[in-house]
Amino acid sequence: MTHFTLPRRRFLQGAAAFGGLALAGPLRAQAAVNFQLSWLPSVQFGGSYIALDKGYWSEEGLEVALQSGGPNAPVEPPVVSGTALMGISAADYTAAAVEQGAPFKIIAVAMQKNPFSIASLPANPVNEPKDLEGKSIGMATSNMPVLQALCEINGVDIDKIEVVPTQYDAAPLVSGQVDCLLCWKTDLPVAMTVAGVENTVMLLADFGYAVHSQTYIATEDAIKNDRATLLSLLKGEVRGWQDYEKDTDAAAALTVEMFPDSGLDLETQKIQAAAQVGLMYSDLTESKGFGWFTEETVAANIETLGLLGRTVSEELWDRSLLEEVHGNAL
């Protein structure tokens, strides 16, 4: 009943790798690994697509399958049950899962700055948290803790904000049903820009909201017993994102090419790819390497997570794999 087709690209790649290895020396078996992404295909995972496309993982002896996410595809179940070796989560999601008994560690951080933003229209803009007072905001009710934390950090009276539950869609803002939206900087605002709707974006991370996003998670068991595979997986991933930074347009083009059936628009993907750069790369990653985090960034996260109602310790983060990756790769 299940139906599996090997994408031609991957097949060719496998064949090429096979040929190359055969020439180079003794044949190394490719270990099959599942890597669970957190959403539908888009340039959000551009670095991973590059790693796959350029064969960074097959060089490591891995046959990586990228599993797409979706509205009804939580990341934690496949990772906790071992179906996927590594998954993409966020510090708040991971903290909640750990609270519920999942043995996860955050082993690298793709988005140094959290992508959550308040999007508004220039005629009635939200440039700083104080501007939220007296406005209506469209958001999923599940994100109430995010708004509460933002208000608390910035001394905004949350009772002066009218919360309207909306689906994840820019239409309520554009059609004037709400004054602003809580969304990712990299999706709904980009959609509005492409549709020709000017918009103002206020990044929560610029106002004290420190929550690592697009974090790489693995189980304690995998970190201990499948360490070599995890290291190879991370190595390829890091190389992919290093390439991504150099040419985001190429990453966008590759994404559209790899997923011709996902309804992706090249222009949108290019703008999204560029918008992501400011969130993923910083002085810290320039000096220490992609995915890096420090005691300071972790401490800031613990504080914000506390405001979100999640009590965590620095134990949630484990940098040892990343240290090995960058020690070897750089």
Binding site: N34, G176, L188, V194, D265
Partner: protein, 531 residues
């Protein structure tokens, strides 16, 4: 005969003309509305939709072929399961009540919960899509097939017995033949449902298909794409409905008169004994559900982090120190959901029944409105729910409309069947006394309609719950649908499974309650149905 006796209140026009007229009317109205709302990014008209479809025909065709492929396998497996269950019920009548209750419970399971589990069990591929499509259809095939297998003239059975054949031969030769027309009715309802199931299945992590495109379109503020997808999905569903119906009509011109079974027949026991029996069945079903729930999870060894067992839910809701708090959260969410589900359910039933009455009085109107009704019912709710909410607002009106739309069409069809069922002799008597059509409707046809009405009222219970939770999940962010969706960010799988248990239990109870009401009413108005 009855047709010629009805005084046409409208000028007679061929049905096809009326259908074309109604189609043109809908298209023009749609385009005008779209133009009026052009600046709001809420609605794209038929012109824009057509343009989008032409520009993106390759993408659409590929997505459609993927989703159709999933839906087709789901249709096959789901219907095979429905038929097999029906055969079990007829071969081993002792299991009938239990199998029927279990089948209902499984049908009531919310997609939000089954999706992720199926994805983990199947891994990548089409497994969850096909399974969810199958789950969406098996019940509506199972129910009419059981009725069909039973609707065998006793003389046929006597004939088989006189040749010395057993129950198996009786089932495969005689009963199967009798059941075929009933099966067609089930398959007809199943065709659009399978498509919807496949689309929802794609939310569990697919890379292509109509469901994937729908999410992508909504997020990219691509109104043309959103409405183009909704249009294609509904056209396909309508087509599937008509094609399956057409094949059935061609092969077996005699359509069955009553589609759904009436609840368990009276076996002559007293009221007290009947109550005991009902309670016993309830407990037996509950026990079977718990054992299956626990057993299947253990058998497949699904991780208890996200696949909670009955004991986990019990401790979460009853014995843990925070049990009261958990129950309150659940209770409040259920209240919110019911505030939408109950009015929507009642409105849908009422609308269906009233429209059926109107159609009998004005048969030509049926040709005008029926195609629109099929369209409304066939548009997959995952695409319509956000759109209806966008258009009607995220208050009560939007959600109640979604529920009503899901329910009114099957009710309408069932009630029309019932109304036309009124015995000819009775109608002749009314006619000879020159009774007004309205009076005939109320006094002669209405009692004939009641069994069909109640049957669809029972079937509408799970449909209403499905509609309201999907709307809450995708659009309004309230109630139990939202509570279940929250799990994605909170990993609070205990709350998810408590919600599932509450929703499923409530659906089953509501189903039983409608069944009980049905028995009371039918005992008065249609005693032959309850015997």
């Amino acid at each position: 005969m009855t047709l010629s006796l009805r005084a046409p209140l409208m000028t007679v026009a061929p049905r096809a003309t009326m259908a074309v007229l109604s189609l043109i009317g809908v298209l023009v109205g749609w385009e005008i509305l779209a133009r009026a709302l052009a600046s709001t990014y809420l609605l794209a008209g038929p012109v824009d939709v057509t343009r989008y479809l032409i520009d993106n025909s390759g993408l659409m065709l590929r997505a459609l072929s993927v989703t159709l492929y999933e839906a087709m396998w789901g249709f096959v497996w789901g219907n095979l399961a429905g038929i097999a269950l029906a055969a079990v019920v007829v071969l081993v009548p002792r299991f009938e009540n239990l199998v029927q209750s279990l089948a209902l419970v499984v049908f009531c399971l919310p997609l939000v919960a089954t999706g992720p589990i199926l994805r983990v069990l199947y891994g990548p591929g089409l497994g969850p899509q096909v399974t969810l499509a199958a789950l969406a259809v098996y019940y509506t095939t199972f129910v009419p097939t059981v009725v069909g297998l039973r609707a065998t003239p006793s003389t046929w059975l006597d004939l088989v017995a006189s040749f010395g054949h057993g129950r198996w031969k009786e089932l495969t030769v005689v009963r199967a033949t009798a059941a075929l027309p009933y099966l067609v009715v089930g398959l007809q309802i199943a065709a659009p449902a399978a498509f919807l199931g496949a689309m929802v299945g794609e939310f569990t992590g697919a890379e292509r298909g109509m469901g994937v495109l729908a999410i992508q379109a909504m997020r990219s503020l691509d109104v043309q794409a959103t409405w183009a997808l909704a249009t294609v999905a509904s056209l396909v569903s309508i087509l599937a409905y008509l094609v399956v119906g057409g094949i059935g009509k061609y092969l077996w011109p005699d359509r069955p008169s009553i589609i759904m079974a009436s609840p368990a027949q009276n076996d002559g026991a007293g009221r007290g004994a009947k109550w005991l029996k009902t309670c016993g069945l309830g407990f037996m079903t509950l026990g079977a559900v718990l054992v299956l729930w626990w057993g299947l999870f253990e058998l497949f060894d699904v991780n208890s982090f996200f696949a909670k067992r009955p004991m986990d839910v019990w401790s979460y809701l009853v014995t843990s120190p925070k049990a009261l708090e958990h129950r309150l959260v659940l209770w409040e969410a259920m209240g919110e959901t019911m505030a939408f589900a109950v009015p929507g359910y009642l409105a849908g039933l009422l609308l269906g029944a009233v429209l059926a009455g109107v159609f009998v009085l004005m048969p030509n109107l049926a040709g005008l409105v029926l195609p629109v009704s099929i369209a409304l019912r066939s548009i997959p709710i995952v695409t319509t729910a956000p759109l209806i909410v966008l258009c009607l607002g995220r208050g009560a009106a939007g959600t109640i409309t979604i529920v009503a739309v899901m329910i009114f069409f099957p009710t309408l069809i069932a009630c029309l069947q019932g109304l036309r069922q009124a015995p000819g002799q009775i109608l002749d008597v009314f006619n000879s006394f020159a009774t007004s059509p309205l009076r005939t409707l109320f006094l002669a046809r209405m009692p004939a309609m009641l069994p069909a009405f109640f049957a669809s009222a029972r079937m509408a219970v799970p449909a209403a719950i499905l509609a309201v939770t999907v709307a809450e999940w995708l659009s309004t962010g309230t109630g139990i649908g939202n509570l279940m969706a929250l799990t994605t960010s909170t990993s609070d799988y205990n709350m998810l499974y408590s919600s599932i248990a509450a929703v499923t239990g409530l659906s089953a109870l509501a189903y039983a309650a409608v069944g009980a009401l049905e028995r009371v009413v039918l005992t008065i108005y249609a005693p032959e149905q309850v015997r």
